[in-house]
């Protein structure tokens, strides 16, 4: 079982969510985050004072999938989120030791 974390532009959330559903992945967790990679921030003006805002709003999607769905999940995310510009985001994949359904204590891949 793999955990796929994707840090995205907030405006891409809907497209990525729809793409994942189409790829057969239904469970996901969405987090609101702030951050940046190489993307520069922007300047804001308040009463003549200039501020550089470099922690930009981001969205993080976390999904846990069976190994065979890894590539289709990644392709779904990239297809929906890519614009070609700096700030598109990143995807991280890690291994998951255990998954448990709280409702009925189902374990392993059938809990996904």
């Amino acid at each position: 079982m793999l955990k796929i974390e994707a840090v995205l532009q907030p405006s891409k959330l809907d497209a990525v969510k729809d793409a994942l559903l189409e790829a057969g992945i239904e469970g996901m967790t969405i987090l609101e985050a702030r951050g940046h990679g190489r993307q520069k921030g922007h300047t804001e003006f308040y009463r003549g004072r200039e501020y550089t805002v470099d922690l930009l709003p981001k969205v993080k999607i976390e999904i846990v999938v069976t190994d065979d769905l890894k590539e289709s999940a990644i392709q779904a995310i990239m297809g929906a989120a890519r614009t070609g510009r700096i700030g598109d985001g990143k995807i991280f994949v890690s291994r998951i030791d255990e998954a448990i359904r709280i409702r009925n204590d189902e374990r392993g891949e059938s809990a996904l």
């Binding site: 003006f45 308040y46 009463r47 003549g48 805002v53």
Partner: protein
């Protein structure tokens, strides 16, 4: 229209009475005349009182929620409730002080500088109109009292902008309560009170301040500056970003201020007649051009016109037109507003940066500077065509050729600066020694809401 008909009827009735000889007038006609006279007076009282009560409500709206929202949106999220509470506290505390002794000190008979104690607990403030009353002849003096109270409330509330995010609630309550009695009341007496030094009606230095440019805005703005200097800067200023957490709230607040200000300025005519119309128009016109002036300055300076700049400019215009509103012509109001927009934005953008003081919400830059500019411009633009304040046919301001009025205006400005500086310093010093003004550093970091009130303004998780 009805008053007109009644007046015509009255006139005809008088003609009838005089043509038949007064000694032979039947009693019933005489009593009819008296009854008519009373009706006319009642009608006028009702019209004037209706306007004044509405105006009083509008002015209170300026503080709550106008100023509460305007200031509240400008501070960081952790301080929203604390900031709003400061305005709200004034609505409560100043009311009590005014009723007990404040009104008497401001509007009682005293000397040129301060009223007396004849109205403590509102004694001898009649509920029925008295044509011989010094202040108001067609409405109850109690209406005048409650109207003036709303001015007394908002003035200390304005000062809170300078020490935003760093003063203890208890100290603020004590300091501003004392300030309203020891700085506001004398200033109000000098400009508007019977026998006041600066009263345009009989004062030794007659100055023109229609709705409180000196009494409200210069005193609050200058006191704000003194407080900001005394307390020192917020922790982390100016390097840390301390941006408004909700310009939406500030925007709503600013619009409420604009609308409420019609009660502040047009209500100062004390009746809903043509002078109120002039004041209403002037208020509106100056605000529009001031918002434009600030916006243009900012567009040139930063490259973009901001919402904060526009609403700040609007408030600057409202401040500057306050002393002039019942004395100038509409085109002059456009000019006054535009000048105020430029001057105040310059103060906030440039002068504040040069001196480096932390006037958090620009109470001095907008109210102190705007009030000063407005008071001086009043001397230039005042004209008897709008308001023969010094008597029929007597020149009022520069527009009439009476350029000396600028000198009187300057005197009023100087006195308001002086009383604000001295009064505020003394009170700050005393309250600081007895109670302690400034938040402890950890409380300042935690924010007013939690440290002073044990609450959070927003809870997005509940």
């Amino acid at each position: 229209m009805r008053i007109r008909c009644l007046q015509s009827f009255f006139f005809i009735a008088v003609l009838f009475a005089s043509s038949s000889g007064l000694a032979q007038t039947p009693p019933s006609t005489q009593s009819q005349l008296s009854a008519l006279q009373q009706s006319v007076q009642n009608a006028q009282t009702n019209a004037d009182n209706a306007w004044m009560l509405v105006s009083a409500a509008l002015v209170l709206l300026m503080t709550g929620p106008g100023l509460a929202l305007f200031y509240g949106g400008l501070v960081r999220r952790k301080n929203i409730l604390g900031t709003m509470m400061q305005s709200f506290a004034m609505m409560c505390l100043v009311t009590i002080l005014w009723a007990v002794v404040g009104y008497s000190l401001a509007f009682g008979h005293g000397n040129a500088f301060i009223g007396g104690f004849e109205h403590v607990f509102l004694k001898n403030v009649p509920i029925n109109p008295d044509p011989q009353n010094f202040y108001v002849q067609t409405i109850p003096e109690q209406t005048y009292m409650i109207y003036q109270l709303m001015f007394a409330i908002i003035t200390p509330a304005l000062i809170t902008g300078a020490f935003a995010e760093r003063m203890r609630f208890s100290a603020m309550a004590v300091f501003l309560s004392l300030w309203s009695l020891l700085v506001y009341c004398p200033m109000a007496h000098m400009v508007w009170g019977v026998g006041g030094l600066l009263n345009s009606n009989g004062g030794r230095i007659p100055s023109l301040d229609f709705a409180g440019g000196t009494v409200v805005h210069i005193t609050s703005g200058v006191s704000a500056l003194i407080t900001a200097l005394y307390l020192g800067k917020r922790i982390g200023y100016p390097h840390t970003k301390m941006a408004p957490h909700s310009l939406v709230l500030s925007f709503i607040g600013a619009c409420l201020l604009w609308v409420g200000w019609f009660g502040f300025n047009a209500g100062s005519a004390l009746n809903p007649g043509p002078l109120a119309t002039s004041a209403f128009i002037n208020t509106h016109f100056a605000t529009a051009t001031a918002a434009l002036g600030w916006t243009i300055f900012e567009w040139l300076h930063n490259g973009k016109p901001t919402a904060l700049g526009a609403i700040s400019g609007a408030v600057a215009g409202l401040v500057a037109i306050t002393p002039a509103s019942g004395f100038v012509q509409p085109m002059s109001a456009l000019a006054i507003g535009l000048i105020a927009g430029f001057v105040c934005s310059f103060m906030v953008f440039k002068v504040k940066a040069v001196f480096g003081y932390d006037d958090s919400l620009d109470a001095f830059g907008v109210h102190g500077a705007g009030g000063t500019v407005g008071a001086l411009l009043t001397g230039i633009f005042a004209t008897q065509l709008i308001n023969p304040a010094f008597g029929k046919g007597v020149a009022t301001g520069g527009m009439d050729g009476h350029w000396g009025q600028i000198g009187n205006q300057a005197a009023g400005v100087a006195i308001s600066w002086a009383i604000s500086i001295v009064g505020t310093l003394v009170l700050l010093f005393i309250v600081d020694k007895v109670i302690g003004l400034r938040l402890a550093p950890e409380d300042e970091s935690e924010g007013l809401d939690l440290s002073q009130h044990g609450e959070e303004g927003y809870d997005f998780n509940s």
